[in-house]
């Protein structure tokens, strides 16, 4: 009970305290103050995430509309400097992460302001252009309208070819929605067009958002604080499981353009200006584009490079999670390796006791916790297994 009380008070005091240095301290058995071992906590969180990765069909080609609520409520200062800026900052990080994980997918940005939804950027694969457009438009006013946003997005997403996964991610600051018509109909429309709508709320749970997510199979979450918000947004970066009715094998026409010769001068089809070198040539119409992946502006062919495909591949065949090695077990065998196979750092914790580590099921090599995260989230290959080959 007492602990509980303490917690509750901290909850409101927390908002006052910018630095909570005392919280990152912990008393050990001999009464000394030590910094809390955050690593173990993070690792536990990460493993929880990993457990859900079974081998299932996933939507690799995603068309994601990010809807950002810029109504009056976005100016609230409960997360400093304001909800709007914090959201923008994390959306920026998200866009980069998203393209990193889903090179074949595209994003568009929509804002809600004064009860109207506006298209900020069209679907595209270039992170920079989205981020630039978003940062230039950060001002908020008026009411928010969920229905208007959904209608707008629905209009665009409905035309997407069926192999693409239609998704909407709504970052909702307001606590109400002022709609011109029956939002329930719009939700049913989205459900019918297989648009997966997810909402991240910034202040409290709203029934209509929950309903929307339930109906369309999306995720609904409410951010507790800034760190939590970041976590929630990034949760949307890995591809979601494919919708069952859509999970039919589909052949998609794609082009693998060649990099243009270094010194050649040609007119770029995307920016409509002459450029020297560093570009790609569409294999079908020979038009020149600046960045991959994209759709060719002239013939509409999807242009990708092979690393893009390869990078998407790991979502389908993730490496099996590593087993956690319990300390007592290693003591018993007494052939516990001293160093991590990945980074060669010592695996021993202070006092020469064996520290926490994990091992791969196939190659039986030991890794430290940092390497574990790195291998599963960035590398997508097990160094141990690869070196055997």
């Amino acid at each position: 009970e007492d602990d509980d009380d303490l917690d509750g008070f901290n909850a409101w005091e927390r908002t006052y305290a910018d630095e909570r240095s005392w919280e990152s301290l912990q008393e050990d058995e001999s009464g000394l103050l030590r910094p809390i071992d955050n690593k173990a906590i993070y690792h536990a969180q990460y493993r929880r995430r990993l457990r859900t990765t079974a081998r299932i069909q996933k939507g690799l080609i995603r068309y994601l509309y990010i809807v950002i609520d810029l109504s009056r409520a976005a100016a609230e200062m409960d997360i400093r400097p304001s909800r709007m800026f914090v959201v923008a900052r994390h959306v920026e990080a998200f866009i980069r992460e998203f393209f990193d994980q889903n090179p074949l997918s595209q994003i568009a940005l929509v804002t809600i302001k004064d009860g109207v939804a506006n298209m900020l950027t069209d679907l595209g694969g270039s992170p920079e252009s989205h981020i630039k457009a978003l940062m230039g438009k950060l001002e908020c006013s008026g009411e928010s309208s969920l229905q208007n946003a959904l209608e707008l997005v629905h209009g665009y997403l409905n035309q997407i070819p069926s192999y693409g996964h239609r998704e909407v991610l709504i970052l909702y600051s307001a606590l109400s929605t002022c709609d011109p018509g029956d939002i329930m109909e719009t939700i049913q429309k989205c459900k019918k067009s297989k648009i997966r709508c997810s909402v991240i709320g910034l202040s409290a749970e709203m029934f209509i958002c929950k309903h929307l997510c339930q109906e369309t199979g999306g995720l609904y979450s409410v951010a507790m604080d800034e760190a939590h918000l970041k976590e929630l947004i990034l949760e949307h970066a890995p591809p979601p499981p494919a919708i069952a009715e859509y999970a039919i094998a589909n052949l998609i026409k794609m082009g693998f353009p060649q990099r243009a010769a270094e010194a050649s001068i040609s007119i770029c089809s995307c920016h409509k200006e002459a450029k020297v070198g560093a570009g790609y040539t569409c294999p079908r119409c020979k038009a020149r584009v600046c960045e991959l992946p994209t759709d060719c502006c002239i013939c509409g062919l999807t242009l990708v490079s092979s690393p893009h495909l390869a990078r998407s591949y790991h979502h389908l065949f993730p490496i099996a999670p590593f087993d956690e090695v319990s300390v007592s077990l290693t003591n018993m065998h007494n052939k516990f390796p001293k160093n991590c196979f990945g980074c060669q750092q010592s695996l021993l914790a202070t006092g020469n006791k064996p520290g926490p580590c994990v091992s791969c099921r196939t190659c039986r090599q030991y890794f430290c916790l940092d390497c574990d995260i790195y291998i599963h989230e960035s590398l997508h290959n097990c160094p141990g297994c690869d070196s055997i080959r």
């Binding site: 009970e1 409290a204 749970e205 029934f207 507790m224």
Partner: protein, 753 residues
Amino acid sequence: MIFQLEDVRVYFPYDNIYPEQYSYMLELKRALDAKGHCLLEMPTGTGKTIALLSLITSYRLSKPESPVKLIYCTRTVHEMEKTLAELKLLYSYQVQHLGAAAKILAIGLSSRKNLCVNPRVLASENRDSVDAACRKRTANWIRATAAENPNVELCDYFESYEKAASAAILPPGVYTLQDLRAFGKEKGWCPYFLARHVVQFANVIVYSYQYLLDPKVAGIISKELQRESVVVFDEAHNIDNVCIEALSVSVRRQTLEGATRNLNRIKQEIDRFKATDAGRLRAEYNRLVEGLAQRGNLPISDTWLANPALPDDILKEAVPGNIRRAEHFVHVLRRLVQYLRGRLETENVEKEGPVGFVASLNGQAGIDQKTLKFCYDRLHSLMLTLEITDTDEFLHIQTICDFATLVGTYTRGFSIIIEPFDERMPHIPDPVLQLSCHDASLAIKPVFDRFQSVVITSGTLSPIDLYPRLLNFHPVVSRSFKMSLTRDCICPMVLTRGSDQLPVSTKFDMRSDPGVVRNYGKLLVEMVSVVPDGIVCFFVSYSYMDGIIANWNETGILKEIMQHKLVFIETQDVVETTLALDNYRRACDCGRGAVFFSVARGKVAEGIDFDRHYGRLVIMFGVPFQYTLSKILLARLEYLRDTFQIKEGDFLTFDALRQAAQCVGRVIRSKADYGMMIFADKRHVLSILFFFLSTSIRFTSFTYIIFFLMWEQFLRKMAQPYDKGGNSGRRTLLSQEDLEKMGDDGMQDIMHY
């Protein structure tokens, strides 16, 4: 799950059970073993109903040698349906595990309005006219004439039910009202009469309080129930008021005028009968000489009225000579009506005990107490004799006779109050004569005497020792249980000062203070901007609500509120309120958000749930004390003090808290739900409320700013995915193994969780 509770094998239709449900069952079982009455309090949302049903039915199964019958009383038809739906689930579970041995017959019983399947009868608009329309087609004499005259309309359903006679039985099962109607339609039997007939054999009966408490109805419906029954009053926190209402009568000018019309009509009928069929009147006279006890001579199906709580010895007495003849009786009634009219002419408020009233009535109109006592039965007999079917026309004279019988029967616990006008509108003469009952134990006494165990249960019964005193009975068990929660899903707070640090209250001398009104408005404006979906506000009275809304409208506060949420208001008109509620729900559903202004003792506060997103926040503006200048309340307080030694202040506080708890309790209807409660009043009475509101709630009366920070945190915390089992820390669900593992001593731990 199936588990052993002492010597009873309990069949519980869910895989897990809350610890408080387990202890609830344990206490209930001990009360049943002791064959005594009990008083159990457990917060709403903890599955009280299913715990109760499952224990009592299992108890019956475990002790086949002494089968108990369950009589379950609910307040509304809606609750009745909910209870039956749960029973259905339980029943199918028991049948699945026990086979045919578990078969029971459970029915819901309601008025004709809810059970009738005849479209012609149902076309009538209210309950009384449905009753009358039914009688017009089913009364004995009508059916007798129909045999000769084919033009007389009868009810086919009733006819075929009569034809089936004793063959008309229900197969075992659980029947909701809906099921009964469907069954009736299919077989062509009248569901209402079928249900009435089946009541004697059914193992479980679910019906309204009135069927047991209102002596007029109880005499017909419930008289044949055996002693070995368990009577349950659910949501019984207002049971004393129901008892009192059952025995209170109010007479207005319209009543008297109506009564006079009725008497004229009766007179005409008598004259007509005298001319055509004098034998009938003669026969009635003879019957009355033999005494009222012989009423049984009349066909059972026509006993549609009965005497209000007459002591048994009266039933055996003969009707006094001066009202045996029909025309004499009409004269007596005319004199009575005349006398009452004279009393209503008064210009002052008058208060009198029944004894004094009868004495003056005897002096001025020559009607003595004994005559009065028989009025109700005499009228009933007369109307049967005169073959009057449109009973809805005769409600006025029935009211008068009801009044007369009550005045004649009871000498204590009542008072007669005559008010020439409404306190709040002294310019408009609206005289009313009220016979108000002060003693709740009078109406419920027969129930306690008659049945083996009476269970009174509700979400809020605190202080639990007051109910036995009010109802004058001795419970063998009286306990209240706390709710175990996986998270702190309620966030109650007392706001004693407004944003400008001035105290807020609805205390009489402060309520019209513009500062208080403004502070209340400010509070609401700030709340609408941080709380999603629905907010419910309770005011202490209609007049106060009207005043405060008018003020907010002038000062622009209402407009500010409307920027965030739509505003809906409860009115005294039922249709209007229903419409407002409907639209309120729609606004909450579609995400627009809405505020509902309601009144603490109104319809909405008593029966409508604002669960989930329909009520994320409830604000109680002020403390809902009763209108303390009301003459009736004062008389009751005086009586309570003299008879039961309950102090006025104690009772008023108890009553106000009970109302407040009821209002805020509308928001949380299950453990997965969450909501906030704000009590905006400086009076410290409210802090007592926190002891009632289950669980170990952290409550502090913070300063204004901290309020909002806490709310925002609270709302965010509650929006996180709900962990049903409470795996992280607090366990609130017990599985079968858990139950088996723990002995009786283990139980203690859980209860002190």
